[in-house]
């Protein structure tokens, strides 16, 4: 299942011609002439793809590799022989021999006019925009040598900036109506919060009934931000408050860093995707003035313990105690975008969500309790910042239920982009930083926590731990190098079956919960992994219909395509290739770590020893590490 499938409205399905699997067959390839150069392309290739394959640059704006065709900006127009008008290269499938020209006077003039028109309506100046130097409209203007406003320039803003959402800020005055956000929301995510409203020059992208974003069914995934070509969409930026906290001598400011930002932040400093900068980032964060830098992977490991235990309890209740109404399959709960999606669209399945908090919120609760106590710091003076690849984490830390420490557990969610900005403001060039480790008492975590950043990572981490705890064997005996390949990769929905042929003794930590593992002997654990809420919808609808996913025991859901590494707080742009490179960086780092299984993390063992003394899913852990959810429904009052 590719990202481009799964559109909601039938009519807006991508207008693509089915490409033949075997292009060597007759009719598989079409010959065409591009700028008098003869080339062969597979049937159904768009003119844009054909040009790219042949290293001919065509400017684009509304086109995005993740999204279906729109053909609305018209920047990519080319001349097609025999046609009266210019054709949009992105929207024209090659089905018969064509002769096209990509740079005639007519084409250049039309493109220039289009760019001039877009700029004339684009309010604001580049130097006061967070997308300065990373804006596709700006690049187009440069490419076409725009040196003045040919058709005037708007002098006053037309719209109010919508800052209602904790996660996404919308500034319609910078919108160029490419509809990438609309397509992201409805195609990629099947949420459909945004749509074009009104017509003619009054056309704008808006929500249902023009409601503020906070009052609609937005899941805060921020995927629209990653695909916006301009500064019309951005995350709700807490940098000012964080700087203020850093500058306040009475505040103890700590940072926890999620696995995905470290695999992507280098992109903000001009380094191609695929290079992790964990150690450099730790140093930079300290030099910015943060008092401590912790690894969220620690609580990812803790999540595996809590969520895995919860699964074992559910299975035990259902299979051995034969309890009625045990909610299975269990769903992961670490992706706040996914959690809100479920609350809106499938609230009846809330019992299936693991009650374990996300790693961010577990850490938040521990920092202001355990950490503050151990270090004799008044929790009210602790400012807890979470570096996340995510826009929805900003919403999550503001959920009213996330105050189990007695304070707001996490004060600020900071995106990868925003930290990069702070590092630049701090006068630091990240790639030049020396490498340093994370701070104690949480220390360096396992590779299992690290791979939470990629789709399938939570599942892989859980499998590494569960197979060892249940079978008593090493994960390496079952999976080469402990790499659980069936749950890796970018396929939209993955399904795997894991037979449990033998069982071992029950480990000490779980003895209070289960007497033995005999009931799992010979069983087959069925799991699934999906990413992008469009794929989540497919799985949920299958579960509702009683299909194969309803027989799963555990399903990992991530709101964003690619998992957290493709999150709404990650560097812009995003493409399938960039996400692949980030995943590679994460998996490579995992393999290089000495510790790769959550239950082997000694800091985790120590916290169960010292603080969460009644074990996973025990009383203390329930108070601090577990939560509840809110059925929201998809209709707005």
């Amino acid at each position: 299942m590719s990202d481009k499938e799964g559109r909601a409205p039938e009519s807006q399905k991508p207008l693509v011609v089915e490409k033949p699997d075997d292009t060597s067959k007759i009719g598989g390839m079409v010959s065409m002439e591009i700028n008098e150069r003869k080339v062969q392309v597979p049937l159904g290739t768009t003119i844009l793809e054909a040009c790219r394959q042949n290293d001919i640059h065509i400017p684009t704006l509304c086109h995005h590799d993740d999204l279906c065709t729109a053909g609305v900006c018209r920047v990519c127009v080319v001349e097609v022989e025999g046609m009266r008008t210019l054709q949009a290269a992105c929207a024209y499938p090659v089905t018969n021999p064509l002769k096209i020209k990509t740079s005639t006077p007519l084409v250049r003039k039309a493109r220039k006019h289009i760019i001039d028109l877009l700029i004339s309506e684009h309010y604001g100046e580049c130097y006061s925009c967070f997308r300065n130097n990373n804006c596709e409209l700006q690049s187009l203007a440069k490419e076409y040598g725009v040196d003045h406003y040919n058709f005037g320039h708007v002098q006053k803003p037309r719209y109010e900036i919508d800052k209602s959402s904790f996660s996404v800020v919308r500034d319609l005055d910078k919108c160029v109506l490419c509809k990438r956000c609309v397509r992201t929301c409805i195609d990629l995510q099947e949420v459909g919060v945004l749509e074009a409203i009104d017509r003619g020059d009054k056309t704008r992208i808006d929500t249902f009934m023009d409601k503020p974003l906070a009052d609609v069914i937005c899941i805060n995934c921020g995927q629209c931000i990653n695909r916006c070509p301009t500064g019309a969409l951005r995350a709700n930026d807490p940098r000012d408050e964080i700087w203020a906290a850093i500058d306040d001598p009475n505040k103890h400011v700590v940072m926890q860093t999620a696995p995905s930002p470290r695999a992507a932040i280098a992109e903000e400093f001009g380094i191609p995707a695929g290079k992790s900068m964990t150690g450099e980032m730790n140093t930079a964060i300290r030099r910015l003035g943060f008092d401590k830098v912790f690894d969220t992977n620690f609580t990812a490991d803790l999540t595996i313990m809590e969520e895995g235990t919860e699964l074992i309890i559910r299975l035990f209740q259902a299979l051995v105690e034969k309890k009625e109404g045990v909610a299975l399959p269990q769903f992961t709960s670490c992706s706040p975008g996914w959690v809100k999606y479920l609350e809106h669209f499938y609230p009846e399945y809330i019992p299936n969500l693991s009650s374990a908090k996300s790693p961010q919120q577990m850490f938040g609760a521990l920092i202001k309790t355990y950490y503050a106590k151990e270090n004799n710091i008044d929790p009210k003076d602790v400012v807890s910042v979470a570096l996340m690849p995510c826009a929805a984490k900003k919403f999550e830390c503001n959920r009213p239920e996330m105050t189990d420490s007695g304070y707001k557990d996490v004060d600020f969610g900071l995106t990868t982009r925003e930290l990069a900005q702070m590092i630049k403001e701090g006068g630091i060039h990240l790639p030049e930083m020396p490498q340093t480790h994370f701070d104690d008492p949480f220390g360096d975590a396992s590779g299992a926590g690290l791979i939470f950043g990629a789709t399938g990572g939570v599942m892989e981490a859980a499998i590494r731990t569960v197979v060892e705890l249940v079978t008593g064997k090493k994960a390496e005996d079952l999976f080469e190098n402990a790499n659980v390949m069936p749950v890796r990769g970018f396929e939209g929905v993955k399904y795997a079956e894991l037979p449990i042929p033998v069982v071992g003794p029950v480990p000490e930590i779980l003895k209070a919960l289960v007497p033995n593992w005999d009931w799992l002997k010979g069983a087959t654990l069925k799991v699934a992994v999906c990413h992008g809420t469009a794929n989540a919808k497919k799985v949920m609808d299958d579960i509702k219909a009683g299909g194969k996913f309803s027989e799963c025991h555990f399903i990992e859901f991530m709101a964003c395509p690619g998992g957290c590494l493709g999150g709404g707080g990650q560097p812009i742009p995003t493409t399938p290739e960039i996400r692949k490179a980030r995943a590679k960086a994460i998996y490579t780092e995992d393999e290089s770590l000495p510790l790769r299984k959550s239950h082997e993390n000694e800091h985790v063992a120590s916290i169960y020893d010292k603080f969460l003394t009644d074990g996973p899913c025990g009383h203390i852990s329930h108070k601090l590490l577990h939560t509840h959810y809110t059925p929201r429904g998809k209709y707005i009052d």
């Binding site: 053909g71 920047v75 109506l177 003619g200 020059d201």
Partner: protein, 401 residues
């Protein structure tokens, strides 16, 4: 609804009895009906002039379980009201034409997309369809032809000009925002609900009913070589006898003006707001696809009219009615209107107006659909043909009006 016989015309307004054409076609092989339509050289009457036989042939050739015939009755071009007359007074022609379309293309469903402002007609048309069903001209085994099933539904538009564009119309029918789609694929392959769909104008379908009965050869007798048959013209403006007239293609503007008794005419806008404005010096031009093409709208302006004011009115219309989807149309029309307002206030330079003309030319080739491609037509033709009137100050471009 009784058919009114008070209108005069050689083709469309000639005698016709409901069901006559249907009864004839069911006895003919489909290919023969198509050949007859081809022989007539009938072209689409909505304005674009695509050969009807080709459109039907492509729809017929498309392989699909479901196909549709859509009658485009979203008559929205300013100055056009001929479809209203046909639907109001000659519904038999239109509906029979749709049934024939169904027969030829293999479609089982016809949809009449009726302009929102024509909602007053809906009840009457629905009653008419009911009568046709009673007469076995709709439904199953139509006119006794085993396996020929076809029915017609009426769907209402909501007043958007853009929904007259066939793919925007289809989007609207599907319940989406009325925005034109990318072409290709064309509706004949991927139309309503992804099925092959022929979208025909009301007048095209009405002509079909006559062509089938009287033959393509007979039809071809009227009109010119490249524009066969007759055309309904909706004439409005400065004349004594405005109304709908049936004339053969090739009639000159002068002849038409005589017919409607118009004096002191300065300009004729042919083809509505998206058409061209023809000055007195060119009144010998023919109304035909190859010369002054029109979907039917003829607006007459006499010497007392202010051409810039007329142009402003047109541009305001396009700024309002652009669907807002593509850049050249959405913003381009605003810029052209601003240009008109600059001229109006006298605050302009010739170099900027020239720049706008070039912009208009880019809009004509780069816009996504016919709206944006044709909206600069009146801007370009009025500024060109009425240069003297509009810039007649002699003050080097600063025109105080």
């Amino acid at each position: 609804m009784e058919m009114k016989k008070n209108r005069q015309g050689a083709v469309l307004f000639s005698d016709y009895t409901r069901g006559k054409s249907i009864e004839k076609v069911v006895g003919m092989p489909r290919g023969d009906v198509l050949a007859e339509v081809k022989e007539s050289k009938l072209k689409g009457r909505g304005g674009a002039g695509f050969p009807t036989a080709t459109k039907w042939m492509l729809t017929a050739a498309a392989v699909a379980e479901k196909k549709y015939i859509i009658c485009n009755a979203d008559e929205g071009e300013p100055g056009t009201f001929k479809d209203r007359v046909l639907l109001d007074e000659y519904p038999a022609l239109v509906f029979d034409g749709m049934v024939i379309g169904g027969y030829v293309t293999g479609a089982h469903e016809g949809i009449l997309y009726l302009r929102g402002e024509y909602s007053y007609m809906k009840k009457g048309l629905e009653n008419y369809l009911e009568e046709m069903r009673k007469d076995n001209l709709l439904g199953v085994n139509i006119a006794g032809k085993e396996g020929f099933n076809f029915d017609i539904n009426i769907k209402m538009g909501s007043g958007a000009y853009i929904c007259g564009e066939e793919t925007a119309l289809i989007e609207s029918l599907e319940g989406q925002r009325g925005e034109p789609r990318n072409k290709p694929p064309f509706p004949v392959n991927t139309g309503f609900m992804g099925c092959p769909t022929a979208v025909n104008n009301v007048e095209t379908l009405a002509a079909i009913s006559h062509i089938v009965v009287k033959g393509g050869k007979w039809y071809q007798k009227y009109g010119t070589d490249k524009s066969s048959g007759s055309k309904l013209f909706s004439v409005s403006g400065d004349c004594k006898k405005p109304g709908v007239f049936e004339l053969p293609w090739g009639t000159t503007i002068t002849d038409l003006l005589k017919l409607v008794d118009a004096d002191n005419v300065k300009a004729v806008q042919v083809g509505g707001a998206s058409g061209v404005c023809i000055p007195k010096s060119q009144f010998d031009r023919k109304l035909a696809y190859e010369d002054a093409a029109t979907g039917g709208s003829i607006m007459i302006f006499n010497e007392s009219r202010d051409m810039l004011h007329i142009l402003k009115n047109f541009m305001e219309f396009f700024v309002e009615e652009s669907c807002g989807q593509c850049t050249p149309c959405r913003i381009g029309n605003v810029k052209l209107l601003e240009g008109v307002e600059m001229i109006e206030s006298g605050n302009y330079t010739f170099s900027y107006i020239t720049k706008l003309k070039e912009l208009g030319q880019s809009m004509q080739v780069a816009s996504k659909c016919g709206l944006g491609q044709s909206s600069p037509n009146s801007f370009l033709s009025i500024l060109e043909n009425f240069r003297d009137e509009i810039f007649n100050n002699g003050n080097g471009g600063v025109n105080v009006r």
